[in-house]
Symmetry: C2
Subunit: 334 residues, 2 copies
DNA sequence: TCTCAATATGCAACCGGTTGCAAAATATTG
DNA sequence: CAATATTTTGCAACCGGTTGCATATTGAGA
């Protein structure tokens, strides 16, 4: 059925090695044999079997792309950029949907069975230990959107979530709000913890401002909406909220509007991520922009570099975020 | 570095075949050797190399998942379900992002290089010839969300877009609208053509109703919004619109609201897909529900069946759609 | 205990490529 | 043109598994 090296060799009247060499970059072949081989190859419609060659070269050009965020619209953009970035470099994404899985062992085993050259863990909610399991198994790995630590055991590319939390707090303080709040994602997510940390930290200098904190059960519309509904029902809401993520913000927004309150007049909202949808005019969300294109580019680059030099020291690459002013926060008074 | 069959065989004091057989379902091994092998394997942390075994078995358990819709939020749900469905059956999705690619040749070559067992083309905009290129290359293929034809050359799983167009028209007619319109996606997309076809078809019986048609440049928010803005600027808008897709509807919605018009009082909207976001209270979109879970399930099942029986006859599986009444269309008068 | 069938095991070839090495072909130099 | 350096080529072993076949082992029945 499938045409192999041997078929081409036979037809071209050369050895299998000769055929192999014409298809390997920088191998020694005379122009004459190359021509013969290429002719035979196109006639037969041959193209080399990547799987078979990986056996001897030790390179599959397969990259495991592991994620558990299949419900946050941001991640469609993330997958788009990752697949393109990998494809441009001749690499192939093997997609792994973690969903409810939290034990890395299965993923590690599975991806090792397919001899992936490297792994990208794309998640802001998984603990560092997840990516570390790959490193321990000897697989080059990058944790994208992961937690920054001073002595990382694994490459991390993302943002400084603590700084973002602080930035959000400062934006609310600058507007003169007297009561502010953090509405985070799941409490055990590292990103949630860090954003809360930075937020509280900045507010520690302002003891006069009332601060409250609550957590949605997931980074999702429904969770954000439900949590905001609970808040509105229970007590007087804060003047402005820092939501740990845009999709959470949008959920909160819908709850607020349903309650007959206005944004930003009655309640202000600032999100985080600046996903494509956030600038849709229906939302027009003020948010902190996370530079995902840069993060993804750097992640791919870093995993490629680590494949080349496995002993490379674990490295952290953080990208600056900035506030995108839109319509869900009042302008700064002057 | 990596521990192989040979290492385990040596340690267990048996032949390589014995080890191989321990890890192959239904092979003949005595309980005693199996125990020895399993002990040695766990001590060494061995797990079989799927790539290597695929060479002899001819099965990689890799499925090419090909799509060009990385900007429609619906497809995050689609990817979620596909990856889970495949994983549950022990298959691995190799993701291919087509983006601007329209020539199937590259994708076919690439996926053949990786000896994928099968391919799923997930797109409502690609022409049938795209999936057919895989079949011509001898790769089992299913076109999900593809166009239904009476004599298909390739498996198609999806909906009857013509019927959906008709259904939308009937919904608008039932409401007594005197002028209605179709706002489609790209004109060359098969789904757009079919939906328009069905829509016009149903309205042919109602010559008294004014009908107009226009096309957005893509199935995206921006395109839907831009097209609706053009419409509102140019002339008196229709009383109600059938938008060829939910994300288009949401774009149109934002344009209408910005123009100070009310939905559904001034302009009614019915979409298609019922993606998760459509029921968000901010949109509350009346739409035609496409049963994507069923479509994806059937697609995976069909590709698996075709891998087993490659000579299986091309088959079309269509699933019924139904209208989900929400807030963007007035109730039917009675 | 012996015979014969059933089961378990190892050998060796194979899957589709790559690559070190030595021999062959070609190019360069004096 | 011979001698030497350089490039090209094929052989054969190998990557990490699987599998048909012949042999060895085990178990059942007499």
């Amino acid at each position: 059925m499938a045409v192999t090296l041997k078929d081409v060799a036979q037809r071209a009247g050369v050895s299998r090695s000769a055929v192999s060499r014409t298809f390997t970059e920088g191998a020694s072949v005379s122009a004459k044999t190359r021509a013969k081989v290429e002719k035979a190859a196109t006639e037969l419609g041959y193209s080399p079997n990547a799987i078979a060659s990986s056996l001897t070269t030790g390179r599959t050009k397969l990259i495991g792309l592991v994620s558990n965020n299949f419900h946050n619209p941001l991640f469609l953009e993330v997958f788009d950029m990752f697949t393109r970035g990998l494809q441009e470099r001749g690499l192939r994404p093997l997609l792994v949907n973690l969903s409810n899985e939290t034990d890395p062992a299965n993923s590690v085993r599975m991806l090792r069975q397919y001899s992936v050259d490297g792994v990208i863990v794309a998640s802001s909610t998984l603990p560092p230990s997840f990516a570390e399991a790959f490193r321990d198994a000897g697989v080059p790995v990058v944790h994208s959107f992961g937690r920054y630590t001073t002595s990382p055991h694994v490459h991390v590319v993302g943002i400084d979530n603590i700084a973002c939390g602080r930035m959000a707090a400062e934006a609310l303080i600058a507007r003169g709000h007297q009561s502010v709040a953090f509405l985070g994602g799941p409490e055990q997510a590292t990103s949630t913890q860090d954003r809360a940390h930075g937020f509280m930290d900045a507010l520690a200098d302002h003891p006069d401002i009332v601060v409250s904190v609550s957590y949605a059960s997931a980074y999702s519309f429904d969770a954000g909406r439900a949590e905001m509904q609970r808040i509105l029902l229970a007590k007087a809401p804060a003047e402005a909220y820092f939501c740990g993520d845009d999709v959470l913000s949008i959920g909160a927004l819908s709850a607020i509007q349903d309650a007959g309150l206005r944004v930003p007049e009655d309640i202000g909202i600032i999100g985080l991520n600046d996903m494509a949808m956030s600038r849709w005019q229906n939302f027009n969300l003020t948010t902190i922009r996370q530079p995902i294109a840069e993060i993804i580019d750097a992640s791919v680059e870093l995993v490629v570099a680590t494949i080349k030099h496995p002993e490379r020291h674990p490295e952290t690459r953080l990208f600056p975020c900035k506030i995108i002013e839109r319509g869900t926060l009042q302008p700064v008074p002057r």
